[in-house]
Amino acid sequence: MPSDLYREELLDHYRDPQNYGVLPEADIDVRLNNATCGDTIHLTARLDDEGRIAKVMFEGQGCVVSMASASMLTEEVVGKRREEVLAMGLPDIETMLGGIRLSMGRVKCATLALRALQQGLKETEEA
Protein backbone atom coordinates (compact mmCIF):
# COMPACT_ATOMS: atom_id res chain seq x y z
CA MET A 1 0.00 0.00 0.00
CA PRO A 2 1.85 3.11 -1.18
CA SER A 3 1.32 5.90 1.31
CA ASP A 4 1.14 9.59 0.46
CA LEU A 5 3.70 10.58 3.03
CA TYR A 6 6.11 7.82 2.27
CA ARG A 7 6.24 8.15 -1.51
CA GLU A 8 9.55 7.34 -3.14
CA GLU A 9 10.33 11.01 -3.82
CA LEU A 10 10.19 11.93 -0.14
CA LEU A 11 12.03 8.81 0.86
CA ASP A 12 14.79 9.69 -1.59
CA HIS A 13 15.17 13.09 0.03
CA TYR A 14 15.21 11.40 3.42
CA ARG A 15 17.73 8.73 2.53
CA ASP A 16 19.91 11.09 0.52
CA PRO A 17 19.20 14.68 1.56
CA GLN A 18 20.21 17.61 -0.65
CA ASN A 19 22.45 20.35 0.71
CA TYR A 20 23.25 18.42 3.84
CA GLY A 21 25.95 20.04 5.93
CA VAL A 22 26.99 23.40 7.30
CA LEU A 23 27.61 26.39 5.06
CA PRO A 24 30.74 28.35 5.92
CA GLU A 25 30.50 32.15 6.26
CA ALA A 26 26.73 31.97 6.44
CA ASP A 27 24.52 35.05 6.84
CA ILE A 28 21.95 32.92 8.58
CA ASP A 29 22.76 30.34 11.23
CA VAL A 30 19.84 28.96 13.22
CA ARG A 31 19.35 25.92 15.42
CA LEU A 32 15.78 24.93 16.14
CA ASN A 33 14.13 21.91 17.64
CA ASN A 34 10.76 20.37 17.99
CA ALA A 35 10.45 19.66 21.68
CA THR A 36 7.59 17.24 21.33
CA CYS A 37 9.37 14.75 19.12
CA GLY A 38 13.02 15.68 19.44
CA ASP A 39 13.51 16.74 15.81
CA THR A 40 16.45 19.10 15.52
CA ILE A 41 17.77 21.22 12.69
CA HIS A 42 20.83 23.36 12.17
CA LEU A 43 20.17 25.55 9.16
CA THR A 44 22.71 27.84 7.51
CA ALA A 45 22.12 30.11 4.51
CA ARG A 46 23.75 32.83 2.47
CA LEU A 47 22.00 35.78 0.82
CA ASP A 48 23.10 37.41 -2.42
CA ASP A 49 23.68 41.15 -2.87
CA GLU A 50 20.03 41.78 -3.57
CA GLY A 51 18.98 39.98 -0.43
CA ARG A 52 17.79 36.89 -2.27
CA ILE A 53 18.47 33.42 -0.93
CA ALA A 54 21.69 32.24 -2.54
CA LYS A 55 22.29 28.91 -0.83
CA VAL A 56 20.83 26.95 2.08
CA MET A 57 22.27 23.94 3.89
CA PHE A 58 21.01 21.95 6.83
CA GLU A 59 22.00 19.29 9.28
CA GLY A 60 19.70 17.58 11.67
CA GLN A 61 17.86 14.61 12.96
CA GLY A 62 14.24 13.85 12.56
CA CYS A 63 11.48 12.01 10.85
CA VAL A 64 11.02 11.55 7.14
CA VAL A 65 8.67 14.49 6.97
CA SER A 66 11.00 16.95 8.69
CA MET A 67 14.15 15.78 6.93
CA ALA A 68 12.63 15.48 3.47
CA SER A 69 10.95 18.85 3.71
CA ALA A 70 14.20 20.43 4.90
CA SER A 71 15.99 18.87 1.96
CA MET A 72 13.37 20.01 -0.52
CA LEU A 73 13.22 23.47 1.01
CA THR A 74 16.93 24.03 0.44
CA GLU A 75 16.21 23.72 -3.29
CA GLU A 76 12.81 25.40 -3.32
CA VAL A 77 13.83 28.76 -1.84
CA VAL A 78 16.98 29.51 -3.82
CA GLY A 79 16.52 32.82 -5.66
CA LYS A 80 13.51 33.88 -3.58
CA ARG A 81 13.35 37.30 -1.92
CA ARG A 82 13.13 37.52 1.86
CA GLU A 83 9.51 38.74 1.74
CA GLU A 84 8.59 35.76 -0.39
CA VAL A 85 10.13 33.36 2.08
CA LEU A 86 8.59 35.13 5.07
CA ALA A 87 5.19 34.86 3.39
CA MET A 88 5.50 31.08 2.99
CA GLY A 89 3.34 28.89 5.17
CA LEU A 90 1.95 25.43 5.62
CA PRO A 91 0.12 25.36 2.25
CA ASP A 92 3.37 26.05 0.41
CA ILE A 93 5.08 23.24 2.26
CA GLU A 94 2.20 20.91 1.47
CA THR A 95 2.48 21.82 -2.20
CA MET A 96 6.23 21.38 -2.11
CA LEU A 97 5.81 17.91 -0.60
CA GLY A 98 3.71 16.94 -3.59
CA GLY A 99 0.26 18.23 -2.76
CA ILE A 100 -0.40 16.18 0.33
CA ARG A 101 -2.50 17.36 3.25
CA LEU A 102 -0.57 17.08 6.50
CA SER A 103 -2.28 16.01 9.67
CA MET A 104 -1.98 18.21 12.75
CA GLY A 105 0.57 15.87 14.25
CA ARG A 106 3.01 16.37 11.38
CA VAL A 107 2.68 20.11 10.77
CA LYS A 108 5.47 21.00 13.16
CA CYS A 109 7.81 18.47 11.56
CA ALA A 110 7.08 19.64 8.06
CA THR A 111 7.59 23.30 8.84
CA LEU A 112 10.66 22.99 11.07
CA ALA A 113 13.14 23.98 8.35
CA LEU A 114 10.93 26.80 7.08
CA ARG A 115 10.54 28.19 10.58
CA ALA A 116 14.29 28.04 11.07
CA LEU A 117 14.89 29.92 7.82
CA GLN A 118 12.24 32.51 8.61
CA GLN A 119 13.64 33.03 12.08
CA GLY A 120 17.10 33.54 10.54
CA LEU A 121 15.76 36.06 8.06
CA LYS A 122 14.10 38.03 10.85
CA GLU A 123 17.31 37.99 12.85
CA THR A 124 19.33 39.39 9.94
CA GLU A 125 16.74 42.11 9.56
CA GLU A 126 16.90 43.08 13.21
CA ALA A 127 20.72 43.07 13.21
Binding site: M1, S3, L5, Y6, L11, Y14, R15, A35, T36, C37, G38, D39, T40, Q61, G62, C63, V64, V65, S66, G105, R106, C109
Partner: protein, 409 residues
Protein backbone atom coordinates in the same frame (compact mmCIF):
# COMPACT_ATOMS: atom_id res chain seq x y z
CA UNK B 1 -10.37 -18.07 38.41
CA UNK B 2 -11.62 -18.88 34.96
CA UNK B 3 -9.19 -18.32 32.08
CA UNK B 4 -9.19 -14.90 30.49
CA UNK B 5 -11.61 -14.81 27.58
CA UNK B 6 -10.19 -11.94 25.58
CA UNK B 7 -12.74 -12.31 22.79
CA UNK B 8 -15.56 -11.87 25.26
CA UNK B 9 -13.88 -8.77 26.63
CA UNK B 10 -13.31 -7.39 23.13
CA UNK B 11 -16.99 -7.81 22.36
CA UNK B 12 -17.69 -5.15 24.99
CA UNK B 13 -15.65 -2.52 23.12
CA UNK B 14 -17.51 -1.44 19.98
CA UNK B 15 -14.61 0.64 18.64
CA UNK B 16 -12.53 -2.50 18.14
CA UNK B 17 -14.79 -3.40 15.23
CA UNK B 18 -13.54 -0.39 13.29
CA UNK B 19 -11.03 -0.47 10.46
CA UNK B 20 -8.27 2.04 9.74
CA UNK B 21 -7.02 2.38 6.16
CA UNK B 22 -9.00 -0.74 5.45
CA UNK B 23 -7.24 -2.76 8.14
CA UNK B 24 -8.82 -3.91 11.43
CA UNK B 25 -7.78 -1.47 14.10
CA UNK B 26 -5.10 -2.69 16.52
CA UNK B 27 -5.26 -0.28 19.43
CA UNK B 28 -1.96 -0.21 21.34
CA UNK B 29 -2.20 3.19 23.02
CA UNK B 30 -4.21 2.55 26.17
CA UNK B 31 -1.49 4.12 28.28
CA UNK B 32 -2.39 7.45 26.69
CA UNK B 33 -6.12 6.76 26.99
CA UNK B 34 -8.20 3.60 27.13
CA UNK B 35 -11.15 2.68 24.94
CA UNK B 36 -14.62 2.64 26.51
CA UNK B 37 -16.70 -0.45 27.15
CA UNK B 38 -20.32 -0.53 26.00
CA UNK B 39 -21.55 -0.18 29.58
CA UNK B 40 -19.81 3.16 29.96
CA UNK B 41 -21.15 4.54 26.69
CA UNK B 42 -24.58 3.24 27.61
CA UNK B 43 -24.43 4.77 31.09
CA UNK B 44 -23.90 8.21 29.59
CA UNK B 45 -26.91 7.76 27.35
CA UNK B 46 -28.98 6.48 30.21
CA UNK B 47 -28.16 9.33 32.56
CA UNK B 48 -28.98 11.90 29.89
CA UNK B 49 -32.20 10.27 28.77
CA UNK B 50 -33.51 8.98 32.09
CA UNK B 51 -32.76 11.29 35.01
CA UNK B 52 -30.11 13.95 34.42
CA UNK B 53 -30.09 17.03 36.66
CA UNK B 54 -27.55 19.03 38.59
CA UNK B 55 -26.38 17.33 41.78
CA UNK B 56 -26.61 18.36 45.43
CA UNK B 57 -29.10 20.78 46.86
CA UNK B 58 -31.80 19.60 44.45
CA UNK B 59 -35.05 18.38 45.97
CA UNK B 60 -36.82 16.94 42.95
CA UNK B 61 -36.58 13.35 41.77
CA UNK B 62 -34.09 13.82 38.90
CA UNK B 63 -31.76 15.83 41.15
CA UNK B 64 -31.98 13.16 43.82
CA UNK B 65 -31.35 10.33 41.38
CA UNK B 66 -28.40 12.17 39.88
CA UNK B 67 -26.95 12.95 43.29
CA UNK B 68 -27.34 9.36 44.44
CA UNK B 69 -25.68 8.02 41.31
CA UNK B 70 -22.89 10.60 41.51
CA UNK B 71 -22.20 9.86 45.16
CA UNK B 72 -22.60 6.18 44.39
CA UNK B 73 -19.70 6.48 41.95
CA UNK B 74 -17.65 7.94 44.77
CA UNK B 75 -18.39 4.86 46.87
CA UNK B 76 -17.40 2.58 44.02
CA UNK B 77 -14.12 4.40 43.45
CA UNK B 78 -13.38 4.32 47.17
CA UNK B 79 -13.92 0.56 47.30
CA UNK B 80 -11.85 0.07 44.14
CA UNK B 81 -8.74 1.59 45.76
CA UNK B 82 -9.65 0.28 49.22
CA UNK B 83 -10.05 3.73 50.70
CA UNK B 84 -11.38 3.71 54.26
CA UNK B 85 -14.22 6.07 53.32
CA UNK B 86 -15.81 7.64 50.28
CA UNK B 87 -15.46 11.16 51.69
CA UNK B 88 -11.73 10.88 51.06
CA UNK B 89 -12.32 10.62 47.30
CA UNK B 90 -12.24 13.98 45.50
CA UNK B 91 -13.23 14.22 41.84
CA UNK B 92 -11.10 16.49 39.66
CA UNK B 93 -10.61 17.23 35.97
CA UNK B 94 -7.87 14.64 35.56
CA UNK B 95 -4.88 13.14 37.37
CA UNK B 96 -2.90 16.24 36.50
CA UNK B 97 -5.34 18.49 38.31
CA UNK B 98 -5.39 16.11 41.26
CA UNK B 99 -1.60 16.35 41.56
CA UNK B 100 -1.70 20.14 41.19
CA UNK B 101 -4.36 20.30 43.89
CA UNK B 102 -1.97 18.61 46.31
CA UNK B 103 0.98 20.77 45.29
CA UNK B 104 -1.05 24.00 45.50
CA UNK B 105 -2.84 23.37 48.79
CA UNK B 106 -0.92 20.82 50.86
CA UNK B 107 2.32 21.94 49.22
CA UNK B 108 1.81 25.67 49.73
CA UNK B 109 0.99 25.07 53.37
CA UNK B 110 3.69 22.54 54.19
CA UNK B 111 6.77 23.21 52.04
CA UNK B 112 9.15 25.98 53.01
CA UNK B 113 12.56 27.30 52.02
CA UNK B 114 15.26 24.66 52.42
CA UNK B 115 12.81 21.77 52.53
CA UNK B 116 13.43 18.95 50.10
CA UNK B 117 10.86 17.72 47.60
CA UNK B 118 11.74 14.26 46.32
CA UNK B 119 10.50 13.05 42.94
CA UNK B 120 11.92 10.45 40.57
CA UNK B 121 13.54 10.62 37.17
CA UNK B 122 10.72 8.54 35.72
CA UNK B 123 7.88 10.91 36.59
CA UNK B 124 5.34 12.04 34.05
CA UNK B 125 5.46 15.85 33.69
CA UNK B 126 2.22 16.00 35.66
CA UNK B 127 3.95 14.67 38.76
CA UNK B 128 7.11 16.66 38.15
CA UNK B 129 6.34 20.19 36.97
CA UNK B 130 3.89 21.04 39.81
CA UNK B 131 6.65 20.13 42.30
CA UNK B 132 9.36 21.85 40.29
CA UNK B 133 7.34 25.06 40.29
CA UNK B 134 6.44 24.72 43.97
CA UNK B 135 10.14 24.33 44.75
CA UNK B 136 10.88 27.50 42.77
CA UNK B 137 8.13 29.47 44.51
CA UNK B 138 9.23 28.34 47.95
CA UNK B 139 12.97 28.19 47.60
CA UNK B 140 12.77 24.49 48.33
CA UNK B 141 15.15 21.88 46.96
CA UNK B 142 13.94 19.51 44.26
CA UNK B 143 15.73 16.17 44.31
CA UNK B 144 15.43 13.20 41.96
CA UNK B 145 15.57 9.53 42.75
CA UNK B 146 17.69 8.27 39.84
CA UNK B 147 16.55 5.58 37.45
CA UNK B 148 19.02 2.75 36.85
CA UNK B 149 20.12 1.74 33.39
CA UNK B 150 17.69 -1.16 33.70
CA UNK B 151 14.76 1.19 34.39
CA UNK B 152 14.31 0.79 38.13
CA UNK B 153 14.37 3.29 40.97
CA UNK B 154 17.61 3.50 42.91
CA UNK B 155 16.33 2.99 46.46
CA UNK B 156 19.75 3.53 48.00
CA UNK B 157 19.75 7.00 46.49
CA UNK B 158 16.29 7.52 47.95
CA UNK B 159 17.59 6.51 51.37
CA UNK B 160 20.33 9.13 51.09
CA UNK B 161 17.84 11.80 50.10
CA UNK B 162 15.78 10.93 53.17
CA UNK B 163 18.67 10.59 55.61
CA UNK B 164 18.99 14.19 56.82
CA UNK B 165 15.28 14.59 57.53
CA UNK B 166 14.92 17.54 55.16
CA UNK B 167 12.62 15.72 52.77
CA UNK B 168 9.01 16.74 53.36
CA UNK B 169 7.37 14.92 50.49
CA UNK B 170 8.12 11.99 48.20
CA UNK B 171 6.07 12.12 44.99
CA UNK B 172 6.44 9.08 42.76
CA UNK B 173 4.63 7.00 40.21
CA UNK B 174 3.31 3.53 40.93
CA UNK B 175 4.07 2.58 37.34
CA UNK B 176 6.05 4.37 34.66
CA UNK B 177 4.12 5.26 31.52
CA UNK B 178 7.30 4.77 29.47
CA UNK B 179 9.36 2.03 31.06
CA UNK B 180 6.38 0.11 32.35
CA UNK B 181 8.28 -0.32 35.62
CA UNK B 182 6.08 -1.13 38.60
CA UNK B 183 7.76 0.66 41.48
CA UNK B 184 8.15 -0.85 44.98
CA UNK B 185 5.54 1.52 46.36
CA UNK B 186 4.99 0.01 49.81
CA UNK B 187 8.73 0.08 50.42
CA UNK B 188 9.06 3.69 49.23
CA UNK B 189 6.16 4.79 51.44
CA UNK B 190 7.72 3.02 54.41
CA UNK B 191 11.07 4.73 53.86
CA UNK B 192 9.41 8.11 53.38
CA UNK B 193 7.30 7.77 56.51
CA UNK B 194 10.29 6.69 58.58
CA UNK B 195 11.92 9.93 57.50
CA UNK B 196 8.79 11.93 58.31
CA UNK B 197 7.89 12.68 54.68
CA UNK B 198 4.41 12.65 53.16
CA UNK B 199 3.83 10.50 50.08
CA UNK B 200 2.05 11.44 46.87
CA UNK B 201 1.40 8.47 44.61
CA UNK B 202 0.78 8.95 40.92
CA UNK B 203 -1.56 6.07 40.15
CA UNK B 204 -2.46 7.20 36.62
CA UNK B 205 -0.97 4.03 35.16
CA UNK B 206 -1.28 1.67 38.10
CA UNK B 207 -4.92 2.10 39.09
CA UNK B 208 -6.31 1.09 35.68
CA UNK B 209 -4.01 -1.92 35.41
CA UNK B 210 -3.15 -3.35 38.84
CA UNK B 211 -4.84 -3.96 42.16
CA UNK B 212 -4.11 -0.82 44.23
CA UNK B 213 -4.88 -0.70 47.93
CA UNK B 214 -4.15 2.65 49.56
CA UNK B 215 -4.39 1.17 53.03
CA UNK B 216 -2.02 -1.70 52.31
CA UNK B 217 0.38 0.81 50.74
CA UNK B 218 -0.09 3.12 53.73
CA UNK B 219 -0.25 5.97 51.20
CA UNK B 220 -1.08 9.60 51.98
CA UNK B 221 -2.31 10.80 48.57
CA UNK B 222 -3.14 8.97 45.35
CA UNK B 223 -4.04 10.56 42.00
CA UNK B 224 -5.39 8.92 38.86
CA UNK B 225 -7.53 9.49 35.77
CA UNK B 226 -10.74 7.79 34.73
CA UNK B 227 -10.07 8.13 31.00
CA UNK B 228 -7.23 5.63 31.27
CA UNK B 229 -9.57 3.02 32.74
CA UNK B 230 -12.40 3.12 30.26
CA UNK B 231 -14.33 6.02 31.72
CA UNK B 232 -14.94 9.50 30.33
CA UNK B 233 -12.72 12.35 31.48
CA UNK B 234 -12.80 12.47 35.28
CA UNK B 235 -9.84 12.71 37.63
CA UNK B 236 -9.56 11.34 41.15
CA UNK B 237 -7.63 12.45 44.17
CA UNK B 238 -7.69 10.26 47.21
CA UNK B 239 -6.16 11.57 50.43
CA UNK B 240 -6.24 10.68 54.10
CA UNK B 241 -9.10 12.45 55.85
CA UNK B 242 -6.82 14.22 58.31
CA UNK B 243 -4.67 15.63 55.51
CA UNK B 244 -7.62 16.72 53.39
CA UNK B 245 -9.32 18.34 56.33
CA UNK B 246 -6.23 20.31 57.26
CA UNK B 247 -5.72 21.58 53.70
CA UNK B 248 -7.09 24.92 52.54
CA UNK B 249 -9.49 24.72 49.59
CA UNK B 250 -8.18 24.94 46.04
CA UNK B 251 -10.88 26.30 43.74
CA UNK B 252 -13.57 28.57 45.17
CA UNK B 253 -17.21 28.76 44.17
CA UNK B 254 -20.45 26.85 44.23
CA UNK B 255 -20.76 23.62 46.24
CA UNK B 256 -17.45 23.91 48.11
CA UNK B 257 -18.87 26.46 50.53
CA UNK B 258 -20.95 26.04 53.63
CA UNK B 259 -21.84 29.67 54.01
CA UNK B 260 -20.90 32.85 52.11
CA UNK B 261 -21.05 36.43 53.28
CA UNK B 262 -19.79 39.42 51.37
CA UNK B 263 -16.40 39.47 53.05
CA UNK B 264 -16.18 36.03 54.56
CA UNK B 265 -16.82 32.39 53.61
CA UNK B 266 -16.89 29.05 55.38
CA UNK B 267 -15.96 25.84 53.66
CA UNK B 268 -17.97 22.69 53.20
CA UNK B 269 -16.86 19.28 54.48
CA UNK B 270 -14.56 17.02 52.49
CA UNK B 271 -14.81 15.96 49.73
CA UNK B 272 -17.04 18.85 48.70
CA UNK B 273 -14.55 21.43 49.93
CA UNK B 274 -12.43 20.49 46.92
CA UNK B 275 -15.16 20.21 44.30
CA UNK B 276 -16.04 23.74 43.26
CA UNK B 277 -18.74 24.29 40.69
CA UNK B 278 -20.79 21.77 38.76
CA UNK B 279 -18.87 18.52 38.28
CA UNK B 280 -19.09 16.36 35.16
CA UNK B 281 -22.05 14.42 36.48
CA UNK B 282 -22.85 11.79 33.89
CA UNK B 283 -19.13 11.27 33.31
CA UNK B 284 -18.54 10.53 36.97
CA UNK B 285 -21.47 8.14 37.09
CA UNK B 286 -19.94 6.46 34.02
CA UNK B 287 -16.62 6.23 35.88
CA UNK B 288 -18.54 4.19 38.42
CA UNK B 289 -19.67 1.91 35.60
CA UNK B 290 -16.07 1.54 34.41
CA UNK B 291 -15.01 0.62 37.92
CA UNK B 292 -17.74 -2.03 38.05
CA UNK B 293 -16.61 -3.35 34.69
CA UNK B 294 -12.99 -3.68 35.84
CA UNK B 295 -14.03 -5.16 39.17
CA UNK B 296 -16.04 -7.72 37.25
CA UNK B 297 -12.92 -8.74 35.33
CA UNK B 298 -10.84 -8.73 38.51
CA UNK B 299 -7.79 -6.49 38.77
CA UNK B 300 -5.52 -9.43 39.55
CA UNK B 301 -6.65 -11.07 36.32
CA UNK B 302 -6.25 -7.81 34.38
CA UNK B 303 -2.69 -7.51 35.59
CA UNK B 304 -1.88 -11.11 34.78
CA UNK B 305 -3.34 -10.79 31.29
CA UNK B 306 -1.18 -7.76 30.62
CA UNK B 307 1.92 -9.43 32.00
CA UNK B 308 1.44 -12.29 29.59
CA UNK B 309 1.03 -9.85 26.73
CA UNK B 310 4.07 -7.81 27.64
CA UNK B 311 6.23 -10.90 28.01
CA UNK B 312 5.15 -12.06 24.57
CA UNK B 313 5.65 -8.58 23.13
CA UNK B 314 9.19 -8.22 24.45
CA UNK B 315 10.12 -11.59 23.05
CA UNK B 316 8.66 -10.86 19.63
CA UNK B 317 9.92 -7.25 19.39
CA UNK B 318 13.50 -8.42 19.70
CA UNK B 319 13.00 -10.22 16.40
CA UNK B 320 12.90 -6.80 14.74
CA UNK B 321 16.38 -5.77 13.63
CA UNK B 322 17.78 -2.61 15.18
CA UNK B 323 14.98 -2.28 17.72
CA UNK B 324 15.87 -1.30 21.29
CA UNK B 325 13.57 -1.54 24.29
CA UNK B 326 13.71 0.84 27.25
CA UNK B 327 13.10 -0.43 30.75
CA UNK B 328 13.17 -3.59 32.79
CA UNK B 329 12.40 -7.20 32.01
CA UNK B 330 8.80 -8.23 31.46
CA UNK B 331 8.07 -9.56 34.93
CA UNK B 332 8.89 -6.19 36.50
CA UNK B 333 6.53 -4.17 34.35
CA UNK B 334 2.98 -3.53 33.37
CA UNK B 335 1.74 -3.67 29.81
CA UNK B 336 3.89 -0.91 28.31
CA UNK B 337 6.86 -1.17 25.94
CA UNK B 338 8.69 1.91 24.69
CA UNK B 339 11.34 1.33 22.06
CA UNK B 340 13.38 2.99 19.38
CA UNK B 341 14.74 1.78 16.08
CA UNK B 342 18.00 2.45 14.33
CA UNK B 343 16.31 2.83 10.98
CA UNK B 344 13.33 5.00 11.77
CA UNK B 345 12.33 8.04 13.77
CA UNK B 346 9.46 7.29 16.18
CA UNK B 347 7.18 9.59 14.17
CA UNK B 348 7.75 7.51 11.10
CA UNK B 349 7.21 4.32 13.04
CA UNK B 350 3.85 5.58 14.29
CA UNK B 351 2.81 6.91 10.90
CA UNK B 352 3.78 3.76 9.03
CA UNK B 353 2.15 1.55 11.64
CA UNK B 354 -1.04 3.56 11.26
CA UNK B 355 -1.12 2.53 7.61
CA UNK B 356 -1.44 -1.03 8.88
CA UNK B 357 -4.13 -0.08 11.38
CA UNK B 358 -1.74 -0.32 14.33
CA UNK B 359 -2.05 2.57 16.80
CA UNK B 360 1.08 3.40 18.81
CA UNK B 361 2.28 6.67 20.25
CA UNK B 362 5.53 8.43 19.38
CA UNK B 363 7.29 11.18 21.31
CA UNK B 364 8.55 11.71 24.82
CA UNK B 365 5.23 10.64 26.37
CA UNK B 366 5.31 13.62 28.77
CA UNK B 367 8.50 12.29 30.30
CA UNK B 368 11.26 14.41 28.80
CA UNK B 369 13.72 14.12 31.69
CA UNK B 370 13.41 10.34 31.55
CA UNK B 371 14.17 10.34 27.83
CA UNK B 372 17.10 12.68 28.49
CA UNK B 373 18.31 10.16 31.09
CA UNK B 374 18.53 7.54 28.33
CA UNK B 375 19.82 9.95 25.72
CA UNK B 376 16.94 9.37 23.31
CA UNK B 377 14.76 12.34 22.41
CA UNK B 378 11.74 10.24 21.60
CA UNK B 379 10.47 6.68 21.52
CA UNK B 380 7.60 4.74 20.06
CA UNK B 381 5.37 3.09 22.64
CA UNK B 382 2.99 0.16 22.46
CA UNK B 383 0.72 -0.49 25.43
CA UNK B 384 -1.83 -3.14 26.28
CA UNK B 385 -5.12 -3.31 28.06
CA UNK B 386 -7.88 -5.78 28.77
CA UNK B 387 -8.91 -6.01 25.11
CA UNK B 388 -5.49 -6.72 23.61
CA UNK B 389 -4.42 -10.17 22.48
CA UNK B 390 -1.30 -11.86 21.10
CA UNK B 391 -2.48 -11.29 17.51
CA UNK B 392 -2.21 -7.54 18.14
CA UNK B 393 1.45 -8.00 18.92
CA UNK B 394 1.92 -10.08 15.81
CA UNK B 395 0.38 -7.27 13.77
CA UNK B 396 2.70 -4.79 15.49
CA UNK B 397 5.77 -6.83 14.73
CA UNK B 398 4.78 -7.39 11.11
CA UNK B 399 4.24 -3.66 10.67
CA UNK B 400 7.60 -2.89 12.26
CA UNK B 401 9.31 -5.26 9.84
CA UNK B 402 7.74 -3.23 7.03
CA UNK B 403 9.12 -0.04 8.57
CA UNK B 404 12.58 -1.55 8.50
CA UNK B 405 12.14 -2.63 4.90
CA UNK B 406 11.05 0.82 3.84
CA UNK B 407 13.37 3.08 5.79
CA UNK B 408 16.57 1.18 6.37
CA UNK B 409 19.27 3.10 4.49
Amino acid sequence: MSPWDVEAVRAEFPILERTVHGKPVVYLDSTASAQKPRVVIETLRKVYTDYYANVHRGIYTFAELSTEAYEGAREKVARFIHAPEAAEVVFTRNATEALNLVAYTWGEANIGAGDRIVVTEMEHHSNLVPWQQLAQRKGAELAFVPVTEGGELDLDALRSLLADGKAKVVAFTLMSNVLGTITPAAEIVRLAHEAGATTVLDGAQAVPHLPVDVQALDADFLAFSGHKMGSPGVGVLWGRRALLEAMPPFLYGGDMILHVEKYHSEWNEIPHKFEAGTPPIAETIALGAAVDFLTGLGMEAVHQHEQELVAYAMKRLLEVEGLHILGPSAEKRGGVVAFWMDAAHPHDIAALLDEEGVCVRAGHHCAEPLHARYGVPATARASFYVYNRPQDIDALVAALQRVNALLRR
